[in-house]
Symmetry: C2
Subunit: 222 residues, 2 copies
């Protein structure tokens, strides 16, 4: 029972941290400080260590970039390895993970790379002209598609909000993710079972205040 002799393939994790800010879907990207693609924007990523699980590598990446240690929604997306030249330095396959986080959580905790780290609007990153390092534009496109699809048949949208939230806010999140406006009454019926009224209200200007809800945890034991 001998050991494997591994091929010279590097295993990396690429990490997509999404949030919603200023009514836009944004993703964390960092400008590259070295060749290749020096100066261009890239997704954060790390090399997976021999004694490290994939999801641990993803969490490590999150912590290194943002300082966030909390448990956040984390999901493996896809493994990119159909282009042996995707990294000019050698053969790299990369497993992409995405995490969703409410913007409220980011505020205080910004880690070591604070100055360089920035959340950028996904739509702009995907535009024709924009140059993005490696195949990261394709990865980003894939992730956005996944978020859109899952918004339709799961409750991932809730992960963009803190514990407590109002329904108008939740609806806005859905509208941003789906890219279309929704009817208020219908929207509320459709998510009704996933929320519970906290009894609190939020006053917000010259109009009727909103009730504050939280998730119905019974419905979130995936």
């Amino acid at each position: 029972m001998g050991k494997y002799i591994p091929e010279k393939i590097m295993v990396a994790v690429d990490f997509l941290l999404f949030t919603i800010e200023e009514d836009q879907l944004k993703v964390l990207m960092v400008p590259r400080k070295e060749e290749p693609f020096k100066g261009q924007l890239a997704l954060p990523g790390v090399a997976v260590k021999e004694k490290e699980t994939l999801s641990h590598a993803a969490k490590r990446c999150l912590a290194e970039e943002t300082g966030i240690q909390d448990s956040v929604y984390l999901e493996q997306l896809y493994t990119w390895g159909d282009d042996c030249k995707r990294d000019p330095r050698g053969r790299v396959i990369s497993i992409s993970y995405m995490a969703l986080i409410p913007r409220e959580k980011i505020k205080e905790k910004i880690g070591k790379r604070v100055t360089e780290v920035s959340f950028l609007e996904v739509g702009q990153m995907l535009s024709e002209e924009k140059e993005i390092a490696f195949d990261h534009k394709e990865i980003l496109k894939y992730a956005r598609e996944r978020i859109r699809n899952k918004t339709e048949y799961t409750t991932i949208a809730f992960h963009f909000l803190p514990e407590e939230f109002t329904l108008p806010r939740l609806q806005k999140i859905y509208e941003i993710l789906l890219g279309k406006e929704l009817f208020k009454a219908n929207f509320r019926k459709s998510i009704q079972e996933y929320v519970v009224d906290t009894g609190k209200i939020q006053k917000d200007g010259a109009h009727r205040p909103s009730k504050i809800y939280r998730r119905n945890e019974d419905r979130f034991s995936e």
Copy 2:
């Protein structure tokens, strides 16, 4: 711009070849000839080579096990690497791919490992008692779930049938994959747009013959 120094991680592809035979969903498995898990059933797999794409590795695996070179439906499933001890010989991450194939295609073409290769009923492989090598039972479970889900909102079921088929046969495929009976009239309405009548018919016993259909290719340009 130096080369990466890869960690000692082996990259493998695990391959799930599904077919429907005797009205059962079956998967290709091979008994292991060496330790670890000697004698137990395992999914076929290969080590990914440095100059080889992931999907190529999957196709190579298919060809090695069955001799099938044709283009078949192939889909990346998931990458398993959250257990550093999943293979006792060292750190291995494995990217699982699944392929679907009509049983008619298998008949003639069985490759070199012909005697050992067998299609086994998925339900049985997943049963409590059955021992399966590595984490392959979990992978199989994941794949079956994926097939079930995709049967509901895509046309993957068609890949279990040859070019030409009858609607009762197609319905049976759906019923096997979904694990429940369907109403004939409703089923036909739901898949109507995906098929075209070839004009041919198939006589099949003491009852009205079935029309023979083929896919409506307009609807299959995914």
